[in-house]
Point group: C2
Chain length 152, copies 2
């Protein structure tokens, strides 16, 4: 568990679980959180489809929230009073997921710095995040998504 | 309500609501179903985000299920014993959704016919579906997704 800022983790968890009912229905949890990476987890049972593997919509929602969680944490750390919105995404389903779901989102520190500066200058800043879904050691899906920070 | 085959609707509803727990959590319902079109609905409340509008992951899941529902119905009508899997999707969030969610998926009868023939010949057939998300008269999101039919 790499969590340089436990206060940030204590702040983020209720943002997800109390404000987004679907995150609660998915039984999502934050497994790791640091400045450049977040790992979200969810058990398979509440996220299955008719075939018994993970429902594509659950995979997409978990990947969407992984990028959102990372950016929301970075914005708070930088003191930005903004909301983070997803703008578009490309999602590839690579293999069926038959086990616990893990979404890994990663951003580069230099990209975040540019994003924070741009928001300061324009009150609107976009950034891309790649998120990957693993399940039982299998790389099951990959998402490339663009998010925008806007004033609240 | 355009439902030429009420038996198909009676068959599809439990496929969604009993086999996919997230569809139940979203309080999804089938509003329309015919050979070339499906409309799925979900209320906003179980699908909100931290800002009080629709969560992007709920929008993606509803759009994913709209294409899946249409193809699953078409496969059953054609007597194909297959599973329908999403392969990839491109999703654009156009406007925030502040009201009940409606996902409209549409396919062309000629495309379906080719898809059914291809599955018969190769036991594997791909098809693209476009789905649109409307909320309170606003066109809130658009998804282009590719699905594949594979033997069960």
């Amino acid at each position: 568990m790499h969590t340089p800022d436990p206060e940030l983790l204590r702040w983020l968890r209720p943002q997800l679980l109390e404000q987004i009912p679907l995150a609660r229905a998915m039984q999502l949890d934050i497994a790791e959180l640091d400045a450049e990476r977040v790992v979200l987890r969810a058990p398979l049972a509440p996220n299955v489809n008719d075939k018994g593997c993970a429902f594509g919509g659950s995979i997409g929602a978990l990947l969407t929230l992984s990028g959102w969680s990372l950016l929301t944490s970075r914005a708070r750390s930088a003191g930005l009073e903004c909301g983070i919105y997803i703008q578009d995404s490309q999602l590839s389903y690579l293999k069926p997921a038959w086990d616990q779901l893990e979404a890994h989102a990663r951003i580069d520190g230099a990209d975040v710095q540019r994003w924070v500066l741009q928001y300061g200058a324009r009150r609107r800043a976009r950034i891309e995040v790649q998120s990957d879904l693993y399940s039982g050691g299998v790389h099951a899906a990959r998402m490339q998504a663009r998010y925008v920070a806007l004033p609240l």
